[in-house]
Amino acid sequence: MAKGTKLTQSNRAGWAFALPGFGLMVMFIILPFVFAIALSFTNQRLISPNPTKFVGLANYQQLLGLGTITLESERDENGAIVYDEDGEAQFPRLRGYTRNNPDYPRIDGMREWFSWGNDESRTYVLARDVVFMKAIVNTVLFVIVVAPVQAGLALCLALLINQRLRGINVYRAIYFMPVVVSIVVVSLLWRFIYDGNDGLLNNLLSGLTFGAFEGRDWLGSPSTALGSIMVMSIWQAVGFHMVIWLSGLQTISPTLYEAADIEGASKWQTFRYVTWPGLRNTAVLILIVITMQAFALFAQIDVMTNGGPLDSTQTIVFQAVERGYGKQDISGGSAISVILFVIVLTISLIQRYLTREKN
């Protein structure tokens, strides 16, 4: 490619060719992105009779506001702890502190998120928006589990499929198949698998244990709902990353494997000293891509659980859509979008730093 020669210097043609694409991207990606930041400091609604006002950090304070309070348990006149009939120590009601209590203006309007303590005192962590806090925790949990497990399984599949066997392409095609199926379709099918009454999973487990396993409602119980969605999401997307690992594997020179073979390296040593170093760039890329995809978790939730049960599957994007679209609160939805973007950016920078090339 010749750069800057007379033959290629052409400002008018250059801009004319690039402008349609760049213009569309400015209009539909960059402008909305800038808008998201700007709107998050206002009280903009989708349709509103009132003019838009600048509200500073109010949206962020509403979403991210946290507080703590430590309460002493109730005592009777002798100074002994009061217990109820269940043997639980009695504490003053939180509402007395978070509802219009002039002594505690910082935690006014907050609700209990979680608490810990003993019979004498309890510390309560309060949040202005408990549902959003749960959404952040769920999303981060989803990413922390899905990113390494999916990347690892995808690598195992890629190693498995990267062998010379008759018909191996058929297997590769099947492993990749769920990737081309819409996540909406996949989510609906898996509702059948996870169903509490006649679900395929319950029937399978009960069959394998000769009836010892008692069926459970996988999506209907707060302890299993998010995990079930993780498993399904990995099932759907793992083929995608298998193919990317595979293309990484195929860039490793066969002469390196021959050399390892001559040196008498074991399978593990070959993997450790030949394959893995050759996959470094692929690994960084895959982790970043999976992390970004995992943070965008939405369709599965919308189709399978709507954020429930008990907010155990609320996610950041689900909250953004529920507010920005469902409640037409564009500014609140935008603030959530900005928070999501900051998290994604931070994590991809950290990943890049941790996996940077030595030297």
Binding site: S10, A18, M25, I29, L165, N169, V185, F192, A320
Partner: protein, 292 residues
Amino acid sequence: MATVTGDNHRLRLAVRYAVLTLIAIIFIFPLVFMVMSSLKPDQQLLADTGSLRAFLPVGDLSFDNYRDAFQRAPVGLFVFNSMLVTGVTVILSLLICSLAAFSFVFLSWTGKGVVLSIILATLIVPFETIAIPLLLIASKLPWIGFDGLTFGWLNSYRVQIVPFIADGLTIYLFVQYFKDLPGELIEASRVEGASWLQIYRRVVMPLSGPVLATAAILKFLVMYNQYLWPLIVVQQESYRPVMVGLQYFFQLNIAWGEVMAYLSLITIPVLTFYLVLQRAFIASIASTGVKG
């Protein structure tokens, strides 16, 4: 001695195939269940989930569910809408993004570096983070059509097409591919007096089959499977795509046979397309991973 190692070899081969097949079953069983269930009446469908019959074409089989699905919802319209939106977006995207990439690789102009870095930076902006402000923009945009100047793009085909024509990944794929084309070829045509547009059309495009296939397949997958965006910008039935059309099947009494028939109807075309072009599909995903 030779027979012992032969048997050993055969055994290991059998184990390998057994492992590969077991994993294949894990990846394929929900899809088999979907297709088989779409052929069964509701009562049998639910009863069969208790056994392997769920995955077998047994019992009272018919296409009744498909007939009923068409009666419940305008399935043909939804499929048409999805095909139209997907087809138009793919074609425009290939054209616009390849033109831009051509300019980045073969032409030099002021501001090129900055523009290209802005485009590549958008790769780390997930669509979900801009969906809400984009909704606000789309609700106010002007459009000149048969009925003169109107404002607001909601409930239309254009709101599903135009925002997705140009994207960083497609431009990046073209840029990577064009970089590997022989530069002398372009210079030679330039010396012969060809215009840039002629070079694009007669020299570069005829050499770009593989990258056009890659970009088309990736765009096709994204567009056909769109869910979040049409969900929030299209309320009118006449513009709905297939994924949003699913809502018709989740009213009070869910007829699961019909749901399975609809899911099969909207999935089988994509799966067929994939199985026919399997190598191209996999190559296109793989090429997104090759860092340049």
